[in-house]
């Protein structure tokens, strides 16, 4: 009853539609530029890993990945650590202005990055953080902290209040209760929130590109620069693209059942 007629065909077609462009990228990444430009081949006839070797040996390329990872990790740590207590407060207590605060957070999650690009540039230049991973990490907090609060609030609300009350009766202080009891109970929620912070910071380009110039240039910006550089090195570009897909693709398996929840800000 759950399914509709012809569902296998529909689903297969749609999944093929999703995979085909990705396959093409992978295909290109294993070709030489000569083969890419001269002939149309459905699979690499002279497979080569030269494109990948260049990325792994050329510092201007692989440092892009390291820079990206730096700000993504800093951002994830900041977001989760400030969001955890707030999620608990929103889930358990009513306080002055709580609903407005919750809405204000949401409105920041939705704010277009383009609006903030220029003021962020001024702000982080003024406090000498421009072109460091910290600038990008803090800038990405604007959408990741609200996201983490919304996701974690859902998970904390799933923990029965009786557990809090019992712990306090047993003489747990608030910090001890938080670290020893609550955090282990919502460990999967923290994992999901961390995954989504990681992901949204990883996929963002506009702010990361605006707030860096040389030292902290993220991989996404390195890629755009190479596109416009002398001639088109399609194979190299494709290889760099494939390498940016891999982190998400690896972790996706562990969060597959929570994906919908994360994208819906914890409200499914």
């Amino acid at each position: 009853m759950h399914s509709i007629p012809g569902r296998r065909v529909i689903l297969s077609l749609f999944l093929a539609f999703l995979l085909l462009p990705i396959y093409w990228l992978v295909n290109m990444s294993f070709k030489t530029n000569g083969e890419i430009v001269s002939t149309m081949t459905l699979w690499p006839h002279q497979p080569t890993i030269a494109n990948y070797m260049r990325i792994f040996t050329d510092e201007s390329w692989y440092s892009g990945y390291i820079n990206s990872l730096k700000y993504v990790v800093i951002n994830t740590i900041i977001s989760i650590s400030v969001a955890l207590p707030a999620a608990y407060a929103f889930s358990r207590y009513r306080f002055l202005g709580d609903k407005h605060l919750f809405f204000w957070l949401l409105s920041n999650r939705m704010a277009p990055a383009a609006v903030y690009a220029l003021p962020f540039f001024n702000l982080y230049s003024a406090i000498n953080l421009f072109d460091t991973p910290w600038a990008v990490a803090l800038a990405h907090c604007i959408f990741n902290v609200p996201l983490a609060v919304w996701i974690l609030e859902g998970f904390v609300s799933g923990v029965p209040r009786e557990i809090d009350e019992t712990a306090f009766l047993d003489g747990y202080s608030f910090p001890r209760f938080f670290v020893r009891i609550l955090v282990p109970l919502i460990a999967s929620g923290i994992g999901v929130a961390a995954f989504f912070c990681f992901m949204f910071s990883w996929v963002e380009l506009l702010l990361a590109r605006t707030l860096t110039s040389v030292d902290a240039k993220p991989i996404s910006a390195v890629m755009t620069r190479t596109v416009s550089a002398a001639g088109m090195d399609w194979g190299l570009l494709a290889a760099a693209g494939v390498l940016t897909i891999i982190p998400g693709a690896l972790v996706i398996w562990f969060v597959r059942n929570y994906i919908a929840r994360g994208f819906a800000l914890g409200r499914v």
Partner: protein, 303 residues
């Protein structure tokens, strides 16, 4: 669940408040400041009052014309992708296998496009659509269609829309699937006993149960498509001409390209205002849906 009133909870929220205020309030104040002034370089600023806003909302001026054109273009784009992605997402969610290993595989493949960096999404379609080296462009051209997204407006639009469908339909599908999974088997059994048709089951059971997630999906997709920047920027760069220049692309052009701070700031504020209004609708819908669900549960509890 009843919440207790406790003003001390503010201490727990304070870190979040400070971090977000630092990233949001300070920059926004700069924007408000700029929007009222004009500059001719050298860090000299002149008071311009609401001049930029007047110009922005007047289609006869250059700024107003560009803003309104990109706004309509953007709204049209959002409408088109919603009209495609929502029905397609529902159909895909309904087509998902019921159980077993294949569910996990399908979920992972569905989620894959959502996790690709946005500029790589652009790169993928840039390569895929090129007539000389891309499979899509090559096949279309060898079928006799003269497809070229760099020079033809219609092809550029089609590419951007298909790219967005590719990128985000999975989100709608995953949310709908989550909604469908929450329907107890008893509902289907009851429908079977009543001899309900496939369509009746969809209309009377599945669609109402998906209401909430569908609303979330529609609003999220609207917001994100309204802010779209990276993917069309990489593929078409806003062109050919201005045909795929959406609001964000126009804003970045004015702010970082021409360094027209006043104009960019005024545009930012109007843009943000639109987002906040839609966001308010979103918030109200989400919280009301939560309350309704709670009421239903309570009623069941009373019985």
């Amino acid at each position: 669940m009843d919440k207790t009133i406790n003003q001390k909870a503010w201490f727990l929220v304070l870190p979040v408040f400070l971090v977000v205020a630092f990233s949001a309030v300070l920059p926004l104040m700069t924007v408000v400041n700029y929007s009222m002034q004009d500059t001719f370089g050298n860090n000299q600023f002149f008071w311009n009052g609401v001049g930029w806003f007047k110009e922005l909302l007047d289609p006869t001026t250059d700024l107003g014309g560009r803003f309104l054109a990109s706004l309509w273009r953007n709204l049209f784009f959002s409408a088109v992708i919603l009209a495609i992605e929502v029905p397609l997402g529902i159909v895909v969610a309904l087509s998902m296998p019921r159980q077993g290993f294949s569910v996990a595989v399908c979920l992972v493949i569905l989620a894959l496009p959502l996790l690709i960096p946005w500029n790589v999404v652009g790169t993928i379609w840039q390569i895929f659509g090129r007539p000389d080296i891309g499979l899509l462009g090559y096949v279309l051209n060898s079928l006799g269609l003269n497809y070229n997204y760099v020079s033809n407006d219609l092809d550029a639009w089609a590419t951007v829309i298909v790219m967005d469908v590719w990128h985000w339909t999975s989100l709608v599908a995953l949310l709908c699937y989550a909604g469908l999974k929450s329907i107890p088997d008893a509902y289907y059994q009851a429908a079977q006993i009543d001899g309900a048709s496939r369509w009746a089951v969809f209309k009377a059971i599945q669609l109402p149960k998906m209401n909430r997630v569908l609303l979330i999906a529609v609003l999220l997709r609207f917001m994100d498509s309204f802010m779209i920047y990276t993917e069309p920027f990489v593929v078409t760069g806003g062109g050919p001409g201005n045909s795929t220049t959406f609001v964000s692309i126009e804003l970045v052009k004015i702010a970082l390209g021409q360094f027209d701070l006043g104009k960019a700031a005024a545009l930012s504020l109007v843009y943000n205002l639109i987002i906040i209004i839609v966001c308010w609708i979103f918030y109200t819908v989400m919280t009301n849906a939560g309350v309704e669900r709670r009421v239903v549960v309570d009623k069941k509890g009373v019985k």
